[in-house]
C-alpha cells in the first residue's frame, strides 16, 4: 500500500463521491417525502391483498413487501438507491486500472518503485474509501429522512442498520466484477457503457422477478442476493445468497490481482 497512490486516487474521486452522495441522498429524501401519502393508499391495498392466496402474492413478489410500514416503504426506495450505488461502484471498478491505460499514464505509474500488487491494493483501498463515504452519507440521509417523514410510525433500527451495512457488500460486488472485466477485455475506452450495462442489466433481472415470480437466473444478480424487501421481512441476511455474493467478489478480486500483475500494458510509443 502506497500512501501517495492512495491520496492521488482519493483526490481524483472526490468530486464523483460528492455528486453520487448528493444524488443518493436526494433519492432517499424525495421518495421518502411521499411516504405518508402513499402509506394511506397502500393500507387499502394491503387490506385487500390479505384476502389473496399466498402463492399468488409470492408470484408478484409482494409477500415480503409491506408498503405501509416505514421499512417496507424504505426497502422499496432502497432498490433505486441500490441501482445508483451499483453504477457508482461499477464506474470505479471498470475505471480502477483501465484509466491509466486510456489516459496513457500507465508507464508513469508503473515506473515508480512500487510493485503492481501494491498499486492495485492502494487503488482498491481508495475506491473502497470512496464507497464507504457514500454509504455513510446514505446512512445519515436515511436516518434524517426517516425521522422527518415517518409520521409517528415505528421502525426497527437494527434492521435499518443491516440494510445500510448491506450496501458495502453490494458495492464491493460491482467493484470486483468491474475490475475483473476491465482486465479481461483488451481495452476499456469508456467506462460508462460498461457500468451502465452491468448495473441496469442486474436491475432489470430483479425487476422482472418481482413481476413474474422466481426463476433460477435471478441468483446471478446481487440485487437478489441483498434483496432489501427480504432483509426487512426477515430481519436478517439470506446467508447462502450473501455468501455467493461475497465469494464472487473475492474470486474476482483475487483473479484481478493475478491478471494485473501479469498484464502486458501498452506503453506510449
Amino acid at each position: 500500500m502506497s500512501a501517495n497512490i492512495f491520496r492521488h486516487e482519493w483526490r481524483a474521486r472526490q468530486r464523483s463521491v460528492i455528486v453520487w452522495s448528493l444524488a443518493v441522498a436526494a433519492v432517499i429524501f424525495i421518495f421518502l417525502s411521499f411516504f405518508s401519502g402513499f402509506a394511506d393508499q397502500a393500507g387499502l391495498i394491503n387490506e385487500m391483498m390479505a384476502r389473496f392466496p399466498p402463492e399468488m402474492r409470492a408470484a408478484f413478489g409482494l409477500n415480503d413487501m409491506d408498503l405501509t410500514t416505514v421499512l417496507g416503504y424504505y426497502s422499496f426506495v432502497f432498490l433505486f438507491v441500490q441501482l445508483c450505488l451499483a453504477i457508482q461502484a461499477g464506474n470505479y471498478g471498470f475505471g480502477l486500472v483501465s484509466i491509466e491505460e486510456s489516459e496513457l499514464t500507465a508507464d508513469f505509474l508503473l515506473s515508480k518503485p512500487v510493485s503492481r500488487g501494491q498499486v492495485l491494493t492502494s487503488k482498491l483501498l481508495a475506491a473502497l474509501t470512496a464507497l464507504v463515504v457514500t454509504g455513510l452519507v446514505l446512512s445519515v440521509s436515511s436516518l434524517v429522512s426517516i425521522s422527518l417523514f415517518r409520521n409517528g410510525r415505528d421502525y426497527d433500527a437494527q434492521t435499518l442498520l443491516l440494510l445500510l451495512l448491506s450496501t458495502v457488500i453490494f458495492q464491493l460486488f460491482f467493484l470486483g466484477v468491474g475490475l475483473l472485466v476491465s482486465l479481461l477485455v483488451r481495452r476499456v475506452r469508456s467506462v460508462t457503457p460498461y457500468s451502465l450495462g452491468l448495473g441496469f442489466g442486474a436491475y432489470i433481472l430483479i425487476a422482472f422477478s418481482g413481476l413474474f415470480g422466481d426463476v433460477k437466473l435471478e441468483l446471478i444478480t446481487p440485487f437478489k442476493h441483498l434483496d432489501a424487501a427480504r432483509i426487512v421481512h426477515q430481519g436478517a441476511f439470506d446467508t447462502p445468497l450473501v455468501l455467493i455474493n461475497v465469494a464472487v467478489t473475492v474470486v474476482c478480486v483475487a483473479v484481478s490481482y493475478w491478471l494485473y500483475i501479469r498484464r502486458d500494458i501498452p506503453a506510449v510509443s
Binding site: 455528486v19 444524488a23 433519492v27 424525495i30 421518495f31 411521499f34 401519502g37 402513499f38 393508499q41 397502500a42 387499502l44 391495498i45 385487500m48 391483498m49 389473496f52 392466496p53 399468488m56 408478484f60 433505486f80 441501482l83 445508483c84 453504477i87 486510456s102 475506452r189 469508456s190 467506462v191 460508462t192 457503457p193 451502465l196 450495462g197 441496469f200 442489466g201 432489470i204 433481472l205 425487476a207 422482472f208 413481476l211 413474474f212 415470480g213 426463476v215 437466473l217
Partner: protein
C-alpha cells in the same frame, strides 16, 4: 460518407453487444411467460384482483396471461435499454474523438464540422434502427410458439415505434452532450445523470396521481404501453413534444460544436 462508414464499423461491436443483451432479456422474459400463458387458474386470480392492486403493480389494462398484456409490461424495459444505448452512442460518438486524441485528425479533413456531426449522427441513428429491428425480430421469433393473433403483431409494431422514438430522444440528448460539453469526460457523466434522473422521475410519476405532471419530464413515460394498447396509436401531444426535444437538442448541438474550442 467515409466518416459515416468508419463510424458504422467502429460502433458495430457495441450494437452487437446491446443486441445480445436485449435478446437475452426477451428470452428470459418469454421463458417466464410460459408459466402464465393461457393458465386459466392464473386468469381467474387476475380477474379477482381488486383494481387498486392492479394499479399499484402498474398492470392496468394488462392481462398477463395474454401475449399482448405481457409485452405491455415489458415495454418499459425495452424503452430503458433503448434509451441507455442511444444516449451512450450519441455522446460517445462525438466525445471519443477528444478522448482518443483523434479530433485534430478528423477536423483537418476537408469537411465542415457540421458535416462531421451529420455523418456521425447518421451512423448512430443506423445503430438505433438496428437495435429496434433486432428487438422486433427476436420478439417475433421468441413468441412464435404461442401463435399470436393479428392484434398482437399490430401492438408489437406500435411498441417498437415508441421504443424507436425514445431512442431518438436520448440519441439527440447524447449528441448534444457530446457536442456541447467542454470536457469530454463530462458528457458521459451527464448522460448517466440524465438517464438515472429521468428513470427515477418516471417511477415517481406513476406512484401517485398528483405527481402525474412529472411524466412530461421523462421520455420513458411519453408512450405509456397501456395507452398504446387501448388507443392503438401514439399520443399526438407527446409526439410533438418528442419532436421539439429532438430538434432543439440537435440544433443546439450543431450550433455549439461549430463554435467550440476543441480539447487537443
Amino acid at each position: 460518407m467515409n466518416i459515416f462508414l468508419r463510424e458504422l464499423k467502429s460502433n458495430f461491436k457495441s450494437l452487437i453487444i446491446w443486441s445480445v443483451i436485449v435478446a437475452l432479456l426477451i428470452m428470459v422474459a418469454v421463458a417466464k411467460f410460459s408459466a402464465f400463458a393461457g393458465d386459466p387458474q392464473m386468469l381467474a386470480m387476475l380477474d379477482g384482483m381488486p383494481p387498486a392492486l392492479i394499479d399499484a403493480l402498474n398492470m392496468r389494462t394488462f392481462n398477463l396471461t395474454t401475449l399482448s398484456g405481457f409485452y405491455g409490461v415489458m415495454f418499459i424495459y425495452f424503452g430503458l435499454m433503448g434509451g441507455i444505448a442511444a444516449a451512450m452512442w450519441g455522446s460517445d460518438i462525438i466525445s471519443k474523438e477528444e478522448r482518443d486524441k483523434t479530433v485534430e485528425f478528423s477536423l483537418v479533413l476537408p469537411v465542415s464540422r457540421s458535416r462531421v456531426i451529420t455523418a456521425k449522427a447518421l451512423a448512430a441513428l443506423v445503430n438505433c434502427v438496428g437495435l429496434v429491428l433486432i428487438t422486433w425480430a427476436v420478439s417475433l421469433i421468441a413468441v412464435r410458439s404461442y401463435s399470436p393473433d393479428r392484434s398482437f403483431y399490430a401492438f408489437l409494431a406500435l411498441e417498437m415505434q415508441a421504443m424507436f422514438l425514445i431512442e431518438l430522444i436520448f440519441l439527440a440528448i447524447g449528441l448534444l452532450l457530446g457536442c456541447a460539453m467542454k470536457q469530454h469526460k463530462w458528457s458521459a457523466s451527464f448522460a448517466v445523470a440524465i438517464i438515472l434522473t429521468t428513470y427515477m422521475i418516471s417511477i415517481l410519476s406513476v406512484m401517485q396521481e398528483k405527481l402525474d405532471f412529472l411524466k412530461y419530464l421523462t421520455p420513458f413515460q411519453y408512450f405509456d404501453a397501456g395507452d398504446l394498447f387501448r388507443t392503438g396509436q401514439l399520443d399526438g401531444a407527446f409526439l410533438l413534444l418528442s419532436a421539439v426535444i429532438v430538434v432543439g437538442c440537435l440544433s443546439v448541438a450543431y450550433w455549439s460544436y461549430d463554435r467550440r474550442d476543441l480539447y487537443i
